[in-house]
Amino acid sequence: MFQHPYLPATPEDVALMLEKIGAASVEELFKPIPGHLRLKGAMDLPPHLSEMELKDLFQGLADRNKSVGRLESYLGAGAYEHFSPTVVRHLIGRSEFYTAYTPYQPEMTQGVLQAIFEYQSCVCALTGMDVSNASLYEGGHALAEACLMARAHTGRNKVVLAAGVHPEYAAVLATYTHNLETEIVQAPLAADGRTDLAALEKLVDDQTAAVVVSNPNFFGCLEEGGAFARIAHGAGALLVASVEPVSLALLKSPGEFGADIACGEGQSLGISLSFGGPWLGFIACKQALVRRMPGRICGLTKDNRGQQGFVLTLQTREQHIRREKANSNICTNQTLLAIAATIYLGAVGPQGLKEVASQSLQKAHYLAGLLKKVPGVGLPYAAASLNEFVVRLPRAASRVLEAMQAKGILAGVALDRFYSGRENDLLVCVTETKKKAQLDRYAAALTEVLA
């Protein structure tokens, strides 16, 4: 008789339990399900596997992928290959963290609550905001929730996007607002790779709930946050800033340039790429907006012994209390990743985060310098950038990528994936993980490929 390792009940257990229940068989317990609804016949599914077989099967599948560890990757566009210190995985691997549920019983889950409180504190510190929640699904979702916050707060129905908002984030926003009579317009890109501010200003009106700027923008260029703040606030709209957290080690924070809500993707804070998830949506806002905040929030309080402790708070914003009137429908979120990001930030610290950002910056500019010299290659944008930049190739980027991949290099993201008419443009990202020799190899390989 086969006893599955995840099922403790032995035949003896089942007999004892049924006797206590007063049922003749387990089958009898299912009699509430009408016969006509019972599954007849087998499903088209393979038989069970032992742990040894599972290991073989999934190791085999893993081997059919080429990781960024085995290829040299210059892919970015919202997903960044930064070095994650060993301690991060060791600590989120503590099973009291990852096998825990949402901390509904605070006295038994102070560890997670304190970690969330520390996470909220880190996000506020980085973004220059007053309040952070405990996490959202991912960067696109964070942007959508931020806009819905602005919409609810202003009672207005229009969102104006800067040119360089991540196209997938913009798509998520469109999906989320599709049935909420909300108009979404996007400003054009100026020649220098930044948003055309004059054009944007024209789009902003007294119906505008939020102006959304992404910094650095999708093309790697630095936007002038302050200008967006002036335009948004001038029209009584809120400024939503979608930012990349590592960049905040060097760039003016949303708080500094006057944003009302900061949001973004936290994956770059020590979280594995994992083919797109699980990642970490973060959102933070000014004090005035705290009761519009979606999702869990952890707060400090005292216990009946006078000790400090932590609890989930301001829950009247949430679905389990307010139901259809809740700020958001989010329930399960990305807490474990929020803890990972907190541990990452504690591991690298302020100096380390600056090093990560500036080494990525320096190496990207070094590579850009080399690529500029490759015959036929151009760098279309004049605006300042950090560690991501657009390269204009003399022919279709997708073809060039194939040739580079054959040399073991994932050379970048072809922009025609997102924008028709940009067949020759490649978005290239460099992080601290790349060595000079690799950058030189990239340039040499591209020269060959284009020769």
């Binding site: 970690a115 980085l126 504690g346 610290g349 380390g352 500036s358």
Partner: protein, 487 residues
């Protein structure tokens, strides 16, 4: 036990937990690269600690927490089952963990096969015609499916604007409906915990877009008339939504698709054993019937002669993107490992174990606590402690707190809202008979304590690092982040 200071309070300027290699390319002055007005001027305000202090801090925090690896967590509606370690190991493989979402399809065939296979499993399990793995969690699955329903109705030029939800439904159901621009109407439950069919029927009309049902419902009762309900809805082209949070009770025993449901979500972090991560991550794939398929979000995973690939372009009627990239891949992968370990031949053992455990635990507790909905239950059951509240001045909260002193995590309390002093218990199939008996013994012992001296319960917990926390105060003057000297 003493409190644990915040990481910020353990910080000292200049300490490092990690260092980086020297920059190996010529360094340009930052000033020349970042325009003055765009440089950060305020300090980063992050903690600075040694590696030992960092590791010790979070290790100590972890030991101030409880998960199912440390004890039973019988939270009703949460399906806190064992999280197999092999799933964690497989997800940690370099070939899965270090994949960039924009790598060329040719370099991620194994990952795409995982997604393709999981879709097949979920279709078989649900009896649905198509599955999307995109949604990040159940609530996003709800929203996603409602968007699909709405797109479907739009495509037929119809504009139904009402979503019906039972009063016992989970909060995310109405919240998702209004997020999707629908008006929410509530359907009453009967004394036996099931939906009031008369009330429901009276509310079904041309303006109803959808009914969201959880089955077994949140009190652990199977809604046996669900296919009748489906028929009523279909008469007006309304959709029946199946909230899959309780799928653990019927997985491989009965299928939502066969009940007449048009769409559903799966809570992968419940039914399929992926760790709940102290609040997430999870995954909330949705399944739909053929008529809704064209509206599913992009991208979709397709299998062609050349192999697997992600298609964004060929779904003109799609609702678009519900999130960036391709869902919580790392979680979906774990779910497939779990499903393969049971296989088609033993998948039904899960639901059988879950229902057996729930009924056994209920049988142990029934003599001492009110079970408003009688027996048998499915995978979970609800106790009402209103008698304890009335006679002993000890309610569900007091019992929950005292359970901590006995070394157990409390069940869900005060949900569903229709049961006074509700204690909703879901043991799951992975708890052993001995564990159930010990848990029951603890609850019964607490009931006796309550009779003897309610103060014991009011003062609880006393064996935890912190005592009962003042939630009201936390909400009245919110302190939501560290600033020097707050503690």
């Amino acid at each position: 036990m003493s409190i644990e200071r915040l990481i910020f309070e353990k910080s000292a300027v200049g300490r490092r937990a990690v260092v980086f290699p020297e920059l190996d390319v010529p360094a340009l002055p930052l000033e020349s690269l970042i325009p003055a007005g765009q440089r950060r001027e305020t300090p980063l305000g992050l903690p600075e600690v040694s590696q030992q202090d960092l590791v010790r801090h979070y290790t100590r925090l972890s030991s101030r927490n409880t998960g199912i690896d440390t004890q039973m967590v019988p939270l009703g509606s949460c399906t806190m089952k064992y999280n197999p370690k092999i799933n964690e190991d497989m997800a940690a493989r370099d070939g899965f963990r270090n994949l960039h979402p924009y790598q060329d399809d040719s370099t991620v065939q194994g990952a795409l096969e995982v997604l393709f296979e999981l879709e097949h499993w979920l279709r078989e399990i649900s009896g649905m015609d198509a599955v999307s793995l995109q949604p990040t969690a159940g609530a996003q699955g709800e929203l996603c499916a409602l968007l699909v329903a709405r797109a479907y109705h739009d495509s037929k030029g119809r504009k139904p604007r009402v979503v019906l939800v039972p009063d016992s439904s989970h909060g995310t159901n109405p919240a998702s409906a209004s997020y999707c621009g629908y008006t929410v109407e509530t359907v009453n439950s009967l004394a036996d915990g099931t939906v009031d069919l008369a009330d429901l029927k009276s509310k079904i009309n041309e303006n109803v877009a959808c009914l969201m049902m959880t089955n077994p419902n949140t009190v652990g009762i199977f809604e046996k008339d669900i296919s009748t309900v489906a028929a009523w809805l279909h008469e007006v082209d309304a959709q029946l939504y199946y909230d899959g949070a309780n799928l653990n009770a019927i997985c491989a025993i009965a299928r939502p698709g066969d009940m007449g449901c048009d769409m559903m979500h799966f809570n992968v972090h419940k039914t399929f054993s992926t760790p709940h991560g102290a609040g997430g991550p999870g995954a909330g794939p949705i399944g739909v019937k053929k008529h809704l398929q064209p509206f599913l979000p992009v991208p979709r995973v397709l299998k062609t002669a050349e192999g697997y690939h992600l298609d964004f372009k060929n779904f003109p009627q799609s609702i678009g993107r519900i999130r960036s990239f391709y869902g919580n891949f790392g979680i979906l992968l774990r779910a497939l490992v779990y499903l393969r370990s049971f296989g088609g031949d033993h998948l039904a053992d899960i639901a059988k174990g879950a229902v057996l455990n729930a009924n056994y635990l209920q049988a142990l507790l029934a003599p001492h606590f009110a079970t408003p909905y009688g027996t048998p239950c499915m995978h979970e059951f609800v106790l009402s402690l209103s008698k304890q509240k009335r006679d002993k001045d000890c309610g569900a909260l007091d019992f929950a707190k005292r359970l901590a002193d006995h070394g157990y995590h409390a069940p869900t309390i005060y949900f569903p809202l229709i049961v006074p002093e509700a204690m909703m218990i879901e043991p799951t199939e992975t708890e052993s008979r001995e564990t159930l008996e010990a848990f029951a013994a603890a609850l019964i012992a607490i009931d006796e304590e309550a009779s003897k001296d309610p103060e014991i319960l009011h003062a609880a917990p006393v064996n935890t690092p912190v005592g009962r926390l003042d939630e009201a105060n936390a909400a009245r003057k919110p302190v939501l982040r560290w600033t020097p000297g707050i503690s």
